[in-house]
């Protein structure tokens, strides 16, 4: 952490941002895009650029974009990004404009992450002040978590690869970040818009409604409310103004109203663009239905493809239900335990989704790793961080090698590639579990500081 801080001190934030943008632009100008757009790590059936182009071509030739089982994205993306899939500028590669859009989306996401991070840091400092813990925890050594998160997001190789590899995940990530930013800055229509678009694009962000409601109801992350009560009990004075606000339903209802409005709007737009081609039912069947039934078994960095390629047909439905319910099962316990930290809750949800979703890509990992940067101060005591870092590096080097051995050379075996996917899943599990544990320990530490007891049981 010290090193990171020094680095950030020596270089200014904006230098890093420009460097990452220039790096992206250089990569874009490589011939054939370095073949990143057909890597299984980058382009899943949902985010693939080639499938988007195919959907656009089908639509241009007056067929339903969902006619074959090629395109599974949103019809809105088709209308907005489809025209960029064909050659617009003479003498330039086809994907140039589209890549520029991805770069812009990445930069916008990074800026939103930075703004949200600053917001969170201010809220954290405020709550420490009201707990009179400013002295005990050296606030002066606090990192600018917003800047760090934005830089992690921008300079993460996963983000760069997803951006240069022409997948649609930069756009999906931007929608998720827009939703969190809107909720943090109490811009309710923006939050609702982000949530509706993110859900529309990739279904899984739907569960972010819980952190968004907490954010709108009680404000950004703070230590548990009962710590404040305890603090004031100790002081024997109950200063109502210093307490965090109670849960208020007003903004939530406001949010629900806007979410309803935006979803109606989005559905109407989709309905208009698919009017001749089977309407909305066709869209739901080949987007959400495709996500939930895991029909495409092409290899990706997830674990479901090999499982469903191997499992007996008889049990397929059972396991489909089990794996999807696994995401839902964890929602409630996490929401109860982390309700006072809605942004962290959102991070955990995003991480769990990107681990358990049917067609994960590195773009999803890029999102939660970026969000992780918000909590550098709170998670300073996290265990296994070096192990996790090395694990991520190792997997991202080994996985392409195993894929190459299996698919291109034919000397390897599917099991080797699957093994790297399993390791990757385990790493994510360790990250989520340790992250949650570190955050709970951080809360315990604060409480112990308040009650004046020595920090006893850690983990």
């Amino acid at each position: 952490m010290e090193k990171v801080k020094k680095k950030i001190g020596s270089f200014s934030f904006w230098n890093w941002v420009t460097a990452s943008i220039i790096f992206r632009l250089i990569l874009i100008y490589f011939p054939k895009n370095l073949n990143l757009s057909s890597r299984p790590e980058v382009s899943t059936p949902l985010t693939s650029f080639r499938r988007l182009a195919e959907g656009y071509w089908l639509k241009q030739s007056f067929m339903s974009p969902y006619a074959g089982s090629m395109y599974h994205g949103s019809p809105l993306l088709l209308s907005l990004l489809g025209p960029l899939t064909i050659n617009r500028i003479e003498g330039q590669p086809n994907h140039l404009l589209y890549s520029l859009v991805s770069v812009i989306a990445d930069v916008v996401s990074a800026m939103l992450i930075r703004a949200t991070g600053q917001n969170l840091r201010l809220a954290y400092l405020r709550s420490l002040e009201s707990l009179d813990l400013v002295k005990q925890i050296e606030v002066s050594e606090f990192l600018f978590s917003g800047d760090i998160a934005a830089l992690i997001y921008l300079c993460n190789p996963f983000t760069i690869v997803a951006c240069v590899g022409l997948s649609t995940s930069p756009i999906e990530n931007m929608a998720v970040i827009l939703c969190l930013y809107g909720a943090c800055s109490r811009l309710i229509p923006l939050a609702a818009f982000g949530w509706v678009i993110a859900t529309h694009l990739s279904l899984y962000p739907a569960i972010l409604i819980i952190p968004v409601i907490f954010l709108l109801g009680c404000g950004p992350d703070s230590p548990p409310r009962k710590l404040f009560l305890q603090r004031h009990q100790q002081k024997e004075v109950l200063n109502q103004s210093k307490l965090p606000p109670r849960f208020s339903w007003g903004p939530v209802i406001h949010f629900a109203f806007w979410a309803f409005l935006w979803s109606v709007y989005v559905l109407v737009l989709c309905g208009i663009s698919l009017k001749q081609f089977g309407g909305l039912w066709e869209m739901f069947k080949s987007t959400y239905g495709f996500i939930l039934t895991v029909e495409d078994l092409s290899p990706n960095i997830g674990v479901l493809w090999y499982f469903f390629a191997e499992v007996f047909e008889f049990f397929r439905n059972f396991f489909l239900i089990v794996f999807h319910v696994n995401i839902l099962f964890m929602i409630l316990p996490l929401a109860i335990r982390l309700r006072h930290r809605p942004c962290y809750l959102a991070f955990v949800y995003v991480a769990i989704c990107s681990m358990l979703k049917s067609y994960p890509s590195v773009g999803d990992s890029a999102l939660y790793l970026g969000l992780l940067g918000w909590f550098v101060n709170e998670l300073a005591d996290m265990q296994f961080s070096l192990f996790l870092f090395c694990g991520y590096v190792g997997v991202s080097l080994l996985s392409p090698v195993m894929h190459n051995l299996w698919i291109w050379r034919g000397t390897g075996n599917a099991n080797f590639y699957f093994a790297t996917a399993m390791v990757y899943a385990c790493l994510q599990i360790v990250l989520v579990v340790e992250g949650v544990s570190a955050m709970l320990n951080h809360d315990r530490k604060l409480r112990n500081l308040i009650t004046g007891k020595p920090q006893d049981a850690k983990s």
Binding site: S38, R50, A53, E54, Y56, W57, L58, S61, M63, A67, G68, S69, M70, T85, E295, D296, L297, S298, P299, V303, W305, Y306, F307, F308, A309, E310, V311, F312, E313, V322, F323, N326, F329, M330, P333, L334, R337, M355, W406, I407, W408, G410, N413, A414, N415, F418, M422, A425, C426, I429, V432, V433, V436, S437, L440, R444, K453, D456, A457
Partner: protein, 673 residues
């Protein structure tokens, strides 16, 4: 009484009337010769340029409309007529093929090659006369029936992922057509026997006697075809019953040991052959049930042009002198049997030369004097068969098991160049090429990546593609179909279509037993609708037309099939299902368990706090009890001074829980019984 008897009389009258009608109908059916069921057998033999021999058996049976004589048949196979009636098949073609027709040396522009050169394996197409929504059900039943009838795995064509609905590029252009191929079917004698069973004489008499299994399957190409046309249920007024056409086309290598021995130096001498040397059998008379039974020998016009016929310059005068002997005894070859008749091609689009057809009647021969035609070459000849305007081939591009591209390349055949320029009336000469390509769903084609290369230069797709129809593949549901109409300039040397694809991944039980062998992509059909292959022969009596010759006269568009491609797909580890399931479930359990553990873990102090909080909320007795228990736990070293009370506390909670669970169980039972 009279009144009572009246109805009987009426009934009697009606009965006699009906009987009369039936009788009249029967009589008329007997009177008219055409209404009879007919069978004819023919064999056409044609020497091929590359020292091989083409034998084309043609059996045709026809049944009059069922309205005239019910469902009784004398000659016509009952199984076929039942099939037609049951599934209301309008037209159907089924072919079993082994080997590949060599378009370059065996030609592609004559009626035989354009209608009898078939893709390897099984090809089936059918046109149904049923409402649109019943077609798929009819197709399914038809495939199963044919599968039983011909001992073949045609029933694999039943699933919607294997057959397609061509819109317009497939020749019998109609919305009711279904087309399916099964390239990996191994064709063998077990398919031939049921096919022969449809003939009235089987292979016991007549020309079919020549069908000796070992010599047939020794050949280079073998295609047995069954074509069915029925006008039975058509909405049009013309009703000509069912016509069943069974053809067997084989390309054989004549046993040319003698030729090799004698003319080792002269390699160009065609091998001499006779029917008995090729098939090992002779024809001992005709099938008595056949209306006509004849053997033809066709000399291609290219060959005729090479041979030194005395009056080859003026073809018309040759037609006049048909009987002149110089057609079969000439310096270059010698026939062992004198032909009964000689036909000369009436007119041809390529006015270089005319084909000659020698006809031999089998009726004249008998068991004691079997028919055996032989041809002895005296001088070496070399000629070329007429080829399709463009020679089509298809191949894969790319490596690896992730993606690739299919390329269909069309190469101009120099042979037809002059012919094409003759066809062009004005300066803008265009060559229309229809491409019909079916790809199975696991080859996921990106139709937007279609590229056209003309004369090895990448060109804009819209410049050369006049019409395109695409139906993209649905996973495990339907194959991808691409129909393209290309308009190429006549002067084109090469043209190529490329299209990219991703390889799909299947579940383990979708792989065939030999998964690493690869998967077949059916042949593409390349047809040239502006060119028609037909041969019209001069015939004096149009009444007694031979079915084979009238078939030759029909204008059928020139078409050719490309190679079948074998695409290797990646395989998962077939021995892993249990391991994968257990490992995956272990990881999930790890995730679920450890996360839940972290979430519900309480540090000791927190626990005490919670207990105290819980105690505050509950009543006095439980409060006391809980305080007691807290004390007990807090000072564990002290002896337990009141064990009964603590046990009663535990008991009450336990009892409460048991009651709750029992209540739930009772409620469950009550609601769901």
């Amino acid at each position: 009484m009279v009144l009572l008897q009246r109805p009987h009389i009426l009934l009697l009258l009606i009965d006699t009337h009906q009987f009369l009608q039936c009788w009249i109908a029967f009589g008329s059916a007997n009177e008219e010769g055409q209404q009879q069921e007919e069978f004819s057998e023919e064999l056409l033999v044609k020497p091929l340029p590359d020292h091989k021999l083409l034998a084309h058996f043609h059996f045709q049976s026809s049944a009059p409309p069922s309205t005239s004589n019910g469902c009784h048949h004398h000659l016509f196979p009952k199984a076929i007529s039942q099939l037609v009636q049951k599934f209301r098949v309008k037209e159907m073609e089924l072919s079993f093929t082994q080997g590949r027709w060599n378009y370059e040396s065996w030609g592609g522009f004559d009626p035989i090659s354009s209608s009898n050169a078939k893709p390897p394996g099984v090809e089936l197409w059918a046109v149904f006369d049923v409402p649109q929504h019943h077609i798929d059900a009819s197709w399914k039943n038809l495939t199963h029936t044919l599968s039983g009838l011909f001992c073949a795995s045609i029933n694999f064509l039943e699933s919607t992922a294997t057959y397609s609905t061509p819109e317009w590029s497939f020749p019998p252009a109609s919305g009711n057509v279904r087309y399916g191929t099964f390239p990996c079917e191994a064709v063998c004698t077990e398919n031939l026997t049921p096919w022969l069973r449809l003939l009235p004489c089987r292979d016991k008499a007549g020309i079919a006697l020549l069908l000796d299994r070992p010599s047939l399957y020794r050949g280079f190409y073998h295609s047995q075809r069954l074509h069915l046309t029925s006008t039975e249920s058509s909405s049009e007024g013309i009703d000509s019953g069912i016509i069943l056409e069974q053809t067997l086309t084989v390309v054989l290598q004549p046993n040319s040991e003698r030729a090799i021995e004698v003319h080792a130096s002269e390699k160009h001498v065609q091998p001499s052959w006779s029917l008995s040397s090729i098939f090992g059998k002779q024809v001992s008379g005709r099938c008595v049930l056949a209306k006509s039974s004849s053997v033809y020998l066709l000399l291609d016009w290219g060959l005729v042009a090479e041979l030194k016929f005395p009056n080859k310059e003026n073809g018309k005068s040759a037609a006049n002198g048909l009987t002149s002997e110089n057609f079969w005894s000439n310096p270059s070859f010698e026939l062992s049997v004198n032909p009964d008749r000689i036909f000369l091609e009436e007119s041809s689009s390529h006015s270089k030369s005319l084909s000659i057809l020698y006809m031999f009647q089998v009726e004249k021969y008998s068991e004691s004097e079997p028919f055996d035609i032989g041809l002895m070459w005296k001088v070496p000849v070399a000629w070329l068969c007429q080829q399709t305007p463009l020679h089509a081939s298809r191949f894969f591009m790319g490596s690896g098991n992730e993606r690739g591209a299919i390329a269909i390349s069309l190469k101009s055949t120099q042979f037809t160049e002059g012919f094409m320029s003759a066809n062009s009336k004005d300066g803008s000469c265009e060559l229309r090429v229809d491409v019909f390509q079916v790809v199975p769903w696991y080859v996921k084609v990106y139709f937007h990546s279609l590229r056209v290369f003309v004369d090895q230069q990448p060109r804009a797709v819209s410049d050369f593609i006049e019409k395109i129809h695409v139906s993209p593949s649905k996973d495990k549901m339907s194959p991808g179909v691409m129909e393209v109409v290309l308009k190429l300039p006549c002067r084109v040397n090469t043209a190529a279509l490329t299209i990219e694809f991703d390889k799909g991944f299947l579940r383990i039980d979708e792989y065939p037993p030999d998964a690493n062998q690869g998967f077949d992509i059916p042949s593409a059909i390349i047809s040239f609708p502006n060119f028609h292959a037909s041969m019209v022969f001069l015939e004096d009596d149009s009444l007694n037309r031979s079915p084979l010759l009238s078939k030759f006269q029909e204008k059928c568009p020139v078409m050719s099939y490309t190679e079948v491609l074998l695409v290797p797909l990646t395989t998962p580890d077939f021995s892993m299902p249990y391991n994968v399931s257990t490992i995956k479930c272990t990881v999930f359990a790890l995730y679920f368990g450890s996360l839940l553990n972290v979430l519900q873990r309480r540090v000791a102090e927190e626990e005490r706090f919670l207990k105290a909080k819980a105690a505050k909320k509950t009543g006095r007795l439980p409060l006391l009890l809980s305080k007691l228990s807290a004390k007990l736990r807090g000072r564990r070293r002290e002896p337990l001074h009141s064990p009964p009370s603590s046990s009663s506390f535990i008991n009450s909670k336990l009892v409460l829980k048991v009651i709750l669970v029992a209540g739930l169980a009772v409620g469950w039972q009550y609601f769901f019984s």
